[in-house]
Every structure is written in structure tokens, then in C-alpha cells.
């Protein structure tokens, strides 16, 4: 028994900060008086924590969630590169059931936190678009897998770096991503070729756009198709973020600054 305690104790030795993922109020109360700073990572700051990182998407993968929390805490300056951090998260149960000890900076920064926090577009808009893409990936269009490309933010510049393939169905319409009707509309229009362009505030500016960025120096994994290349390249040329649903493997990928920052499988949500 004492061996087991030692094992757990070892995990907490020399820990510089504690990250709590979506803790309940009572759980937070028990931890908050620790010597180390306690960072709460959750969708909403329900416990009024001093250090708080907003989790815009309930990542089903714990590793992804922890990565997001760490990058958020690093960005906010609560922890520093190389700090040992104890993460308490939910894996199976409804309550916190797992402890993970990681060293911040042991992995390459993916930029997933910056994708939400530092993009031109509002975090909620990016989240809404991701959700639409995930749902589209899950259900497809009438049962068939579809691909889609959403370019979010910096819409003025993106519009000038693209040309219409056809009449824009969203002209003079004032729909924003997140409106209930939009999911249906986007699903219908996703059979059209080209990209959706969405402004900083979430207004759907256009569909049917052919992107014309210069693809120089775009570094995306080999094997991804023209849609991903176009999405990746436009984020290099502008301050936009591209969210791409792959038709072939069904994954949702986000690009920022010409690089792949996030990859999620719609089936997990």
C-alpha cells in the first residue's frame, strides 16, 4: 500500500503548477489552497478561478485537452517552459479520475491555443465552424462523405485573394455561423465546389470561392489533397484560419499561418 502511495507521491514531487480540467466546485476548493498555482481549464469559469483557460471545445482526446490547457497556461504566463505540471482530468468517469504529469515544453507547440485565442476571428466563431465541420464529417451529405473548406477571419483580404466560381448564394444574406438555420444551409451548399468565407464576427460572406494564394513555403503533411493545400496556403497569405474537412479520410483539420495546428476525428465527438 505504501509503495502505491509512494508511486503517486512521486508524481506530485516538484510540481510547479496544477491544471484542473473542468473540475467541480468542491474539487476546486480542495486543491485551491495548494502552494502551486492552480489553473482551471474548462468551457466556463464556474468556480471563479484566478487562473483560467477557456476550453472552447470539449476535446474527447485527453492528450489533446491537456495540450490545449498547457499551451493556454504557457501563453498566459502562469507556467513556464520546462515546468513540471500536474494535470487532473476526466477520462472515463463524470468526475476527475486521472492524473497526468507532464513537463511543459516537452512537446512541440502546436499552436492549438493560439488558434482560438489569438486568431482574428472570435474564438466562438472558430468553435462554431469547427462544430459545423465535425457534424458534416459525421453525417456527410445524405450519407455520402463530403469535403468542405472554411476560411475564417480576415475576410476582406481573403475575398481579394480569391475569385467566385459562380453566383454567391450568400449575397445580401445576413446569416452567421451558429445560427440554427446555418447548419442546414452549409450542409446543402457543401456539395458546391470551392471555399466558404466567414468574417471575423462569423458572418458567412461567400460560398463558391476559388482561393488563389501563393502556395510558396507552405508546409503541410504530404498526402493531403488540393483542398488542404489551398486552405493551408491562404492562411499563410492572410491572417485567416482555415478549417478543412477531408473527403477521403473524414478528418477535420485546422490550419493557421500555413501550418497544420489541429487534427480531430469527427467520429470521436
Amino acid at each position: 500500500m505504501s509503495d502505491l502511495r509512494d508511486l503517486v507521491g512521486e508524481m506530485t514531487d516538484g510540481v510547479e503548477a496544477v491544471l484542473l480540467f473542468s473540475p467541480s466546485g468542491s474539487y476546486y476548493e480542495r486543491v485551491v489552497d495548494a502552494d502551486q498555482p492552480v489553473v482551471v481549464v474548462s468551457g466556463e469559469n464556474t468556480v471563479d478561478a484566478e487562473h483560467y483557460v477557456e476550453l472552447p471545445l470539449e476535446f474527447s482526446d485527453v492528450a489533446q485537452r491537456i495540450r490545449f490547457g498547457l499551451e493556454g497556461a504557457l501563453e498566459n504566463g502562469v507556467i513556464e517552459e520546462g515546468d513540471a505540471v500536474l494535470c487532473a482530468a476526466k477520462t472515463f468517469a463524470e468526475d476527475i479520475d486521472s492524473l497526468v504529469r507532464v513537463r511543459a515544453g516537452d512537446f512541440v507547440r502546436s499552436g492549438v491555443y493560439e488558434l482560438f485565442a489569438d486568431s482574428r476571428a472570435e474564438a466562438s466563431v472558430i468553435r462554431d465552424v469547427l462544430e459545423v465541420a465535425i457534424e458534416l464529417g459525421k453525417k456527410g451529405q445524405k450519407g455520402k462523405p463530403v469535403g468542405a473548406l472554411f476560411v475564417v477571419g480576415d475576410a476582406g483580404k481573403v475575398m481579394n485573394k480569391s475569385r467566385p466560381l459562380s453566383y454567391n448564394p450568400f449575397e445580401k444574406s445576413h446569416v452567421h455561423v451558429g445560427d440554427p438555420i446555418v447548419n442546414v444551409m452549409l450542409k446543402e451548399f457543401s456539395r458546391l465546389d470551392g471555399a466558404f468565407i466567414i468574417s471575423d464576427s462569423g458572418k458567412i460572406v461567400s460560398a463558391y470561392r476559388y482561393l488563389e494564394p501563393s502556395a510558396e513555403g507552405v508546409d503541410i503533411p504530404k498526402g493531403l489533397g488540393a483542398r488542404h493545400m489551398a486552405g493551408g496556403a491562404i492562411t499563410r497569405d492572410t491572417n485567416a484560419v482555415a478549417i478543412v474537412l477531408s473527403e477521403s479520410d473524414g478528418l477535420v483539420r485546422a490550419f493557421s499561418g500555413g501550418e497544420l495546428v489541429l487534427e480531430i476525428d469527427p467520429e470521436d465527438y
Binding site: 480576415d154 475576410a155 476582406g156 475575398m159 481579394n160 449575397e171 445576413h174 464576427s201 458572418k203 460572406v205
Partner: protein, 265 residues
């Protein structure tokens, strides 16, 4: 058997001749009772179907009602039922002539509908005021400013005040002084508020035209008020244009005052 029928016939004859009035009066009371019950039942289910219980959830009035073992919907429907019964009873009393059709009953009959409406208005005011406070508070929750907390209270008490005024007016209480106060308050809100929000209102008016007609749209290069750039966003109040990493946020009334230049190369 035969005797019983004969007794019944005698009773009926007596009721329909010498005590006809009493008979009709009791009929009226029974009808009123049934009608009141039916109306209460009907109103209850109608209000429940209309989603009133969810709407009033969390208001002070509803919570108080709950503590007393009832609810807003129940109260309103029972009140309506009671009103019908009361009207029926007074009518019956008159018909029966039990109480001389004196001044008292006459006044009471006139007064009853007002009392009913006043009670309804009071309940409505209390619920609406509380609800408005909750809604406004919810909207302003993201604004971390202590002074902002006063706004939901102001909204709540304004609604209470107006409801009280209407209810008292129904009861015939002299409300002239309170009315003057209300007029001064409304003047303050509308005139001072209008003055303060003048620029925003004119921007919004221009914004509606811009949003509906889209003379320029996101991605167009325009010159507004000497600022040249690419339109990034158009909403009801402002237009954002950007050039060389600088974003100009221009009120829409500026667009209308000075006109727009669309750059087409």
C-alpha cells in the same frame, strides 16, 4: 314510488311558482361555480401549454408562490375562476332578492371587474419586472463593472412602478401625483437618453440601409472619410476597413454624411 313522484311534482310546482326566484338564483350559482371551475381548468392548461411556467421560472413572485404551495399559473387561473363565481353569486343574490338591490351590491358589482383587472395587472407587473431584471442581468453578466448592476434594478422597479400605477388607476385611487412623477421619469429617459444615444441612433439608421442594400460589401476597396482600405466587416453601427495592418472603425453615419468611394481598378 307513486307517492315519491307526487312529492317531487309538488316540490317542482312550488319551486316554479312561489319560489321561482330562489330556484333561478341557485341555478345561476351552480352554473357560475361550474363555469368558474371550467375556466380555471382551461386557463391553467392553456397557460401551461403556452410555456408560461418556464418563462416565469426563477422570478421572485413564482418562488414566493411556490413556497406557499401554489404557482403563478395556478394563481392566475384560480383568480379568474373566482372572479366568475363572484360575479355569478352577486347576480344570483340580486335575482333572489335576498339582499335588497341596494347601493352596496350595486357598487360591488361595478367594483369587482376593476378589482380583478387590478389583481391581474399586479401579478403581471411583479412577474414581468422580475423577469426583466433576470434577462437584463443575464445580458450584462459579461460586463465586469459594478455600476452596471444598478441597471437591472432600475428596469425592474420601473416596471413595478408602471404596474402599480395601472392597478391603482383601475381601483380609482387618485394617481395624478404618481403620473407626474412617471412623466418626469419618461421625459428623462427618452430625452436625455435620446440625446446621449443620438450618434448611435443615426449610425444604426444608416446601418440598416447599408446592411439591407449592401452598396459595398466585405472585400471591396473603398474610401470613406479619407480612409482608404478593404472592408472587413459591416454591422449596424460601424464599418471596419483595413489597410496596411491598420483597421479603421467608422460609424455608419459617417458613411452617409460623406458618401463612399468604391475603388475599382
Amino acid at each position: 314510488m307513486v307517492g315519491q313522484i307526487a312529492a317531487l311534482r309538488r316540490l317542482l310546482r312550488r319551486l316554479l311558482t312561489s319560489e321561482l326566484e330562489l330556484f333561478v338564483a341557485s341555478l345561476i350559482v351552480v352554473t357560475a361555480l361550474l363555469l368558474g371551475l371550467a375556466v380555471a381548468r382551461l386557463l391553467n392548461s392553456l397557460l401551461t401549454d403556452a410555456g408560461v411556467p418556464e418563462e416565469v421560472e426563477g422570478t421572485l413572485f413564482e418562488r414566493t408562490a411556490r413556497r406557499l404551495g401554489t404557482s403563478t399559473v395556478k394563481l392566475v387561473s384560480r383568480l379568474s375562476g373566482l372572479f366568475i363565481v363572484a360575479v355569478g353569486t352577486i347576480f344570483a343574490l340580486r335575482v333572489a332578492g335576498v339582499v335588497n338591490a341596494g347601493l352596496l351590491i350595486e357598487r360591488l358589482a361595478d367594483f369587482l371587474p376593476s378589482l380583478f383587472v387590478a389583481a391581474l395587472v399586479a401579478i403581471l407587473g411583479l412577474v414581468l419586472g422580475d423577469k426583466a431584471e433576470l434577462v437584463v442581468g443575464e445580458r450584462l453578466r459579461s460586463v465586469k463593472l459594478p455600476e452596471v448592476n444598478a441597471l437591472p434594478l432600475v428596469v425592474k422597479y420601473s416596471i413595478f412602478y408602471i404596474a402599480a400605477l395601472v392597478a391603482l388607476g383601475q381601483l380609482g385611487v387618485a394617481t395624478a401625483a404618481l403620473l407626474v412623477l412617471l412623466a418626469a421619469y419618461a421625459f428623462g429617459v427618452f430625452f436625455i437618453g435620446g440625446l446621449a444615444f443620438k450618434d448611435m441612433l443615426s449610425s444604426a439608421a444608416a446601418g440598416f440601409y447599408l446592411v439591407l442594400n449592401e452598396p459595398y460589401t466585405i472585400g471591396d476597396e473603398v474610401v470613406i472619410d479619407g480612409q482608404r482600405g478593404i472592408v472587413q466587416e459591416v454591422d449596424v453601427f460601424v464599418t471596419r476597413i483595413e489597410s496596411d495592418g491598420r483597421e479603421f472603425i467608422l460609424p455608419n453615419r459617417q458613411v452617409f454624411k460623406n458618401g463612399i468611394v468604391r475603388v475599382r481598378d
